[in-house]
Amino acid sequence: MADVLINPVADRLSPLELLRVTLAAASDPSQVAIRELPFLCQIALRGSPGNTLFMAAVQKALGLDLPVKAGSVVLAGSVRALWLGPDEWLVVAPDGAAPALLSALAAALEGVHAQAVDVSANRTVIALEGPRAAEVLAKGLTLDLHPRAFGPGRVTQTILARAAVILEQTGEAPAYRLYVRNSFATYLASWLMDAAAEYRLPPLC
């Protein structure tokens, strides 16, 4: 009975696929735009930055030095490492990169106290861009996003409205990425659309 065969790429459904059109309709690049970046490769990485074996192994596998400064992001080519905690990172890469990166990590980390787990399907990513993006976030975020306090290359785990998110600033414009657990994605997307709605109204006199 091998007739039920699933295509592991084509048959995927991202958490916000069903909202794709709605998100597009709610977006206005001159104000704020919201869209899903589905299926990014994400790897949860744990290890001690004090362990030179670990740091070296990761450098070897990913071609980058993991960020040790709180809240920072290191990029190398298409791979980025997000600092999540003093012994915790999220490695983000394009769709499809996970198997290769994971096996490279597994090989390099052999015998090292570390953990690398594929979490590509654990969270989805929402891109939020446009001049009003920071203001939209400020409606539900207790953090300070002012350029003096945050900016491109910065990342943090926090709570947006009532959902836990990883927030990364990717551009000056500003542009942000919100990494959110699948089950919260619909809530968060709805919340963002609601928060952004007023910027599509004529301005308050």
């Binding site: 809240g71 905690g85 915790e88 207790t142 785990q157 926090t158 709570i159 836990a164």
Partner: protein, 104 residues
């Protein structure tokens, strides 16, 4: 709304944290060796001072790390933040009687 300085992430709103009660209460090494009263004290008896309190917090919505803090329970002023497994800065807080020994 407290503003708490996570030792890793810096100042963040209280809503990102979770308070874990009194700090420096180590789990006994050999629970079986304790009588009911001593074991009961370990589970239930905690310091509850009016004034400086050594307490544990975790940056639950942020870096997920636990740390210690001395906070005044009357003014809500935060006097020190220090890592798990270390002693409070000299002259701050007072360790409760339940402290069998330091965790680490």
């Amino acid at each position: 709304m407290l503003l708490i300085s996570c030792p890793h992430c810096g100042p963040c709103d209280e809503t990102e944290f979770h308070c874990g009660g009194e700090a420096h209460v180590a789990r006994p090494h050999d629970p079986a060796a304790l009588d009911d009263a001593a074991w009961g004290a370990f589970i239930f008896m905690r310091n509850n001072p009016k004034g400086q309190f050594n307490e544990r917090w975790v940056h639950a919505a942020g870096c997920r790390r636990w740390f210690n803090m001395v906070r005044d329970t009357v003014t809500h002023r935060i006097l020190a933040v220090y890592p798990m497994g270390s002693r409070p800065p000299a002259g701050l807080g007072h360790l409760g009687a339940a402290v069998v020994e330091d965790a680490q």
